[in-house]
């Protein structure tokens, strides 16, 4: 049943640029795509493993800066920079996660927030490496000539497809891993960590696996973002960004692919449609978050699912 939904959504996403010609909208959709990757990775940590992380954007920032610095300062081409950036983020997550994931309860969330802020401080102050206030001049991927086809990434449409490819990979990966043995381990940690441990699940190891996988995905998303925007700033690793991601997954609906997609789409486009000034957005985000967490904690996708089992079949 769900296969049909996946095919439908996939087709919709593929055909979108043929329907939507405006560069502005393609730009928006591409950024939403990057957010979808981020939110899906956060869902792995928050939705499935039950860890409230307020520092997820830190790895987005680390990946973005790694990719950017490799390209601007060391002259790496796009793909190696992206992959190495992801690898670097992976290592950073392993090193930072190893001590942090032992922390329990609300302290973990605050620790991740502190971590995120520390990352922004270091990025901001280490200006010889990171350009301080901003890192600019990050190039787009180069033009590829392939069997007579020319792929030019300065076209909004082409970059949209690039990001879409990664979105497919990310969502596919999330789906596979959550329906596997490690995925069940993650969920057992969320449901009842003590019981899971008593049953032989190595909590620290699985938390670390989830954390590192998710952070690596965030890092790759960061690399895509860096090349797309051309210039990046320390704030992308900070608390406000992490908070937005958390809001997106809570409102969309944790532990659902639908939620990982709907959350970013809704929270990106709704303010656009309401023509709310930039200044009112945090108010809006906070308000919706409060309403959802009090009345609909399972988010939109969760709420839809709970309406009727027949409907739940169609919501992946």
């Amino acid at each position: 049943m769900r296969i049909l939904i996946y095919l439908f959504l996939g087709l919709l996403a593929l055909l979108m640029p043929l329907v939507i010609r405006s560069n502005y909208w393609l730009y928006m959709l591409t950024l939403v795509g990057i957010y979808i990757i981020l939110v899906a990775s956060l869902d792995l940590i928050y939705g499935y493993t039950g860890l409230v992380s307020l520092g997820h954007a830190a790895f987005f920032g680390i990946g973005a800066y790694a990719c950017g610095i490799l390209q601007t300062k060391l002259g790496f081409p796009f793909l190696p920079a992206l992959l190495l950036g992801g690898l670097f983020t992976c290592l950073a997550a392993a090193v930072l996660g190893w001590p942090m994931l032992r922390i329990k309860g609300p302290y973990f969330a605050l620790g991740t927030l502190a971590l995120g802020l520390m990352v922004t401080i270091v990025i901001h102050n280490w200006d010889s490496l990171t350009g301080g206030v901003s890192l600019s001049g990050i190039p787009l991927p180069p033009v590829i000539q392939f069997l007579g086809w020319t792929i030019d990434f300065s076209s909004k449409r082409t970059y949209y497809y690039l990001v879409l490819l990664f979105v497919f990979l990310a969502l596919f990966f999330i789906r596979q891993i959550t329906h596997s043995r490690p995925g069940r381990a993650f969920q057992s940690i969320r449901e009842n960590a003590d019981l899971a441990e008593a049953l032989g699940v190595d909590i620290l190891r699985y938390k670390l696996i989830a954390y590192v996988l998710a952070s690596t995905m965030a890092g790759v998303a960061g690399g895509l973002y860096a090349s797309y925007m051309g210039s990046i700033e320390p704030a992308i690793a900070g608390g406000h960004m992490s908070f937005h991601l958390l809001v997106m997954i809570v409102i969309g609906g944790a532990r659902t692919i639908t939620g990982e997609i709907v959350g970013p789409l809704l929270l990106w486009f709704l303010p656009e449609f309401l023509e709310a000034a930039q200044v009112y957005r945090p108010l809006f985000f906070g308000f919706i978050l409060l309403v959802v967490i009090i009345f609909m904690p399972m988010g939109i996708a969760g709420k839809l699912r709970s309406l009727h089992p027949r409907i739940a079949q169609w919501i992946p």
């Binding site: 942090m100 309860g105 302290y107 502190a114 802020l117 958390l246 200044v279 945090p282 967490i293």
Partner: protein
């Protein structure tokens, strides 16, 4: 040697604010069993209220502004207890924490709209007067900050440990159901504790405002530091909050002086993570 004393004094002054904020946090934690992030926005509110009082009534009224702050912040506390946290009593902890984040976001957004997003300077009449105590010099404002923080901390300490109401608050945070059985009006105690917690934080913001930049998100870093203090002192421990505040203030200032001032905040956060990892239960048991 003179520098050492100066750093010590600076550290004690910073520590008094951290202690006051941590005190609010820990009081509210006793009721909520989650840290209330929205206090960061209340801190900023205190600063804004004193800013406007100075603008409308003149700088002489700076200390007077503490009264409306207590009332407004306190009422906001009661409001937040009733509307936001009350309904979430039965929900899992993560929900309450996320709600606190949402509340912070709304309030900070509100301040941005109302106050504007630029950072401003507030001048109180005490900012320009300096005192020298031996080799150490400080502005009158910072001395007042220190004294007022201590007074309120002491006052709260006495309230919690020497009055019947304080006993009720302690009973509530130890075991809500049994406290109810013993006749403690939990609705009232919740509301009162929120009033106190929010009021103290508002005062903290107002006191610090003339010595720092004022803006909508000025409360973010202090609130994280108050978490650090609470982690040091143990969530729920009043003495731990006050003592921990001084430890953080001193540690931060010495770190900035002898290591690097650019990375001052980094140092605090690093200390935080270190404490969390090595000593999860803090210095004082609950």
């Amino acid at each position: 040697m003179a520098e050492f004393l100066q750093y010590t004094v600076n550290g004690l002054i910073a520590g008094s604010t951290y202690g006051l904020l941590a005190l609010s946090m820990t009081l509210l934690y006793g009721i909520l069993t989650i840290p209330d992030f929205s206090l960061g926005a209340i801190y900023a509110l205190g600063a804004f209220i004193s800013f406007y009082i100075i603008q409308w009534l003149g700088p002489e009224y700076y200390l007077f502004s503490l009264f409306p702050i207590i009332i407004l912040a306190g009422l906001l506390g009661i409001f937040s207890e009733r509307i936001v946290f009350g309904p979430l009593e039965k929900a899992p902890h993560a929900a309450g924490f996320i709600a606190a984040l949402g509340l912070y976001s709304i309030l900070e957004g509100g301040w941005n709209v109302w106050f504007g997003s630029e950072w401003r300077n507030i001048n109180s009449p005490y900012n320009d007067m300096t005192i020298a105590l031996g080799p150490v010099s400080l502005t009158f404002q910072r001395l007042i900050l220190f004294i007022v923080c201590l007074l309120f901390a002491l006052g709260t300490f006495l309230l919690i440990f020497r009055t019947l109401t304080g006993k009720k608050i302690r009973a509530f945070s130890e075991n809500r159901e049994v406290a109810q059985l013993m006749g403690v009006n939990t609705r009232r105690i919740s509301a009162l504790t929120f009033f106190i917690g929010y009021a103290l934080t508002g005062i903290g913001g107002a006191l610090v405002a003339p010595t720092a930049l004022v803006g909508a998100s000025m409360g973010l870093t202090p609130i994280i530091k108050s978490f650090i203090v609470v982690a040091l002192g143990g969530l729920g421990s009043v003495t731990g909050a006050i003592v921990g505040g001084f430890i953080l203030g001193l540690g931060e200032n010495f770190g900035a002086a002898y290591i690097s001032s650019m990375y001052k905040d980094l140092f605090s956060f690093g200390l935080f993570l270190g404490v969390l990892i090595l000593m999860p239960q803090g210095l004082y048991r609950r």
